[in-house]
């Protein structure tokens, strides 16, 4: 479920809490890819990922005085903000996204990549995104959180017990598998 290449956790309180922009820039560099990957797992488009990741980092800067290192690690704090930003977006707009728009947008990306394997990779990602887009916000958040190794305490972040998390993940995975099957056989 989680990969081995997780980032080492910051134990000391981050310097950016004091309002140091340089330290904040380092924090952005450190976590930007993880945040993008997390948002991507929620089935969001590239443009949305960029917009929401920016929003999450900006909120973490604005609300830095509210961060308490004794309560949560920096990564958990950042991912919680990102989760809230993403859920806000998913619930504000219709959960069933305009799939035609999604396909158009991603086909353009696919065409830009010339090598065959890159094209196939894009196709697979498009297919997965389309399947994720059919899931509820709750299913997407549990998948995104469980597949993000940087989130140390997933159950705490999602406010549920370990057992409930396993059940939620199992159901979400099944629904995702069914959605992908439907994409493969649209007329059945």
């Amino acid at each position: 479920m989680t990969s081995e290449h997780s980032l080492p956790e910051c134990d000391s309180p981050p310097d950016y809490l004091g309002g140091d922009p340089v330290a904040f820039g380092e924090l952005v560099m450190r976590y930007q890819d993880s945040l993008f990957a997390y948002l991507g797992r929620m089935g969001l488009s590239d443009a949305e990922c960029q917009e929401l990741a920016q929003e999450a980092f900006l909120r973490s800067w604005i609300n830095r005085s509210k961060y308490d290192p004794a309560i949560a690690a920096v990564a958990t704090w950042l991912f919680t903000i990102t989760r809230n930003v993403a859920l806000d977006r998913l619930t504000r707009r219709s959960i069933s996204v305009n799939e035609d728009e999604l396909v158009d947008q991603q086909t353009d990306l696919s065409r830009a990549a010339n090598p065959q394997h890159q094209y196939e990779q894009h196709q697979s990602i498009d297919r997965l995104r389309q399947a994720l887009a059919t899931l509820s916000a709750e299913d997407r958040e549990v998948i995104a959180a469980c597949y993000t190794p940087e989130i140390a305490d997933t159950s705490a972040m999602l406010n549920c017990s370990e057992g409930a998390l396993r059940t939620r993940l199992s159901r979400a995975r099944k629904r995702l598998a069914t959605a992908m099957e439907k994409l493969d056989k649209p007329h059945e």
């Binding site: 922009p21 991507g40 990741a53 997965l128």
Partner: protein, 86 residues
């Protein structure tokens, strides 16, 4: 099939989206813009707090107060007058 295939697992485990090269700069620009905005708001509040009240406002307050006191005295006097007249 009720579970995810290996390819999907691999895609979910890897990064489906990666940050563009200039992402950090974009974030820092937004942070700088936010800080500028905050600074301007603080300056505007400070400026509004330090600005002396214009003379005509003091004048209006004084005249208004005198009229108000006059009205109250007039009412008291009229009550006294009616009572005294029987």
């Amino acid at each position: 099939m009720n579970d995810l295939d290996k390819n999907t697992e691999a895609l979910l485990t890897g990064a489906m989206v990666t940050a563009p090269d200039d992402f950090r700069d974009a974030v820092m620009q937004r942070v700088a813009a936010h800080e500028r905005e905050l600074q301007q708001e603080l300056m505007a509040i400070e400026k509004a707090g330090l600005q002396p009240v214009p003379w005509w406002q003091w004048m209006a307050l004084t005249v208004g107060s005198l009229i108000g006191v006059g009205q109250v005295l007039r009412f008291i006097f009229s009550v006294w007058f009616v009572t005294a007249a029987g």
